[in-house]
Amino acid sequence: MNTSLITRPLAALGATVLGALAGMGRLTLFALSTLRHMVTPPFYTREFMQALLHIGYLSLPVVGLTAFFTGGALALQIYSGGSRFSAEAVVPQIVAIGMVRELGPVLVGLMIAARVTASVAAEIATMKVTEQIDALVTLSTHPMKYLTVPRVLAGLLTVPLLVGIGDIIGIYGGWLVSTQSLGFNAATYLQNTVNFLEPIDVISSLAKGAVFGFIATVMGCYYGMQSERGAQGVGSATKSSVVAAAVLILAANFLLTQAFFAI
């Protein structure tokens, strides 16, 4: 029997596994290095303020629209599903818990991955292929401090805020649909929502936001910095960053949900 028929697939499998492990190692070192640079000077305030604007403020419309429509659709679904066993009245509570604990953070995280991760990866990858990163180094400026730290710090701080805003708009979307077309009383709906939510729901939501913000921006910076030469390299870095950020956000969401709410 030809042994290469057995060894070749094994070698290919081994190379893939080793490659994946090496990639995870590089990513972990990159994330740790980012955290280290966050607490050591110099700090680039102007770049940080710009990142706050681009990552936080300019993401508000997409986050708001996503949360609003999701909250509205959620109210319709819960009403329709609840009516099968005469539980239509739980709409405010389920919309609140669904938005705050899960849909708010996850949808905002995915929207940030689509909007911010892609743009950060494309921008940094383009800077790399046009030698702008090399130029930064020759101008005595550490690319990690100048490009990565402001963006990651902005993601860490603004995404929880975006999640909080998304939660409120999502609940508002549910309230609007419920009061305008499902016959709920406006004040009672809000009262039920407020009474049902617990501090841990809000804390978990904001904590997820911070973790997702970190993941989204780190992935954008990492893949941008790792980009190969040429337009294909930029495209590939952008695609990989969004896919990796989305998958990691969903995985982190599961782990955080388990950490906060597993009984």
């Binding site: 110099p42 680039y44 046009t130 030698e131 702008q132 930064l136 020759t138 101008l139 005595s140 400026t141």
Partner: protein, 249 residues
Amino acid sequence: MIELSNVHKSFGSKQILRGVDLNIPRGESLVIIGGSGTGKSVMLKCVLGLIQPDLGTIKVDGEDVTKTKDRDAFLARFGMLFQGGALFDSIPVWQNVAFRLLRGALKRPRAEAREIAIEKLRRVGLSPDVADQFPAELSGGMQKRVGLARAIAADPEIIFFDEPTTGLDPIMAGVINDLIREIVVEMGATAMTITHDMTSVRAISDTVAMLHGGKIRWTGPVAQMDSGDDPYLQQFITGSSIGPIETLR
């Protein structure tokens, strides 16, 4: 001032530099010529520490560039004009030029940095109204000149020029060559230029070095270049397709 000794560099199985030895005295303008892909840019990036050599030493004023303690102070001695300009397209021209003066050890007040940037732009033949434009709004020649202004903004001791005339029309190439020569003479800087453009070589250099096969094939004063008896050098400077240099690379 700059000494390269037995410098080797490979990327995977591809050996780029196979033992480069080169000396550049202070105040001299050295031009490195050689075919595409022979490792000229890699050599330059090794000197700047952007790429680590696999073997050999690179010293600037006797200090090993891979072991330098204060990297910022080391890099502050250099200015570099990149092949494509490498201007930061998210900030206006004057902030590109004054980049080093707006942050780090050489930081100046914003107004002063802007004034210096405008003066450097004027030095390379650009009017002050270019200062507030963004790099994408400029032509290729103007971008090169902005890159040149950025390279000289902090009055460096050593300036590197990577393909300074590539992609420019002959007149603009001539303007850039004259500017480089003037600036190098005026500032007394040590210059290292990479180019394929033989007009640039004659306009800019005091000394020429030819890189081929990962090693310095020929080096000597520019005046002796045409009479050099190295067949590789002669083929390169005459642009002949017949000779020892393989045309299929």
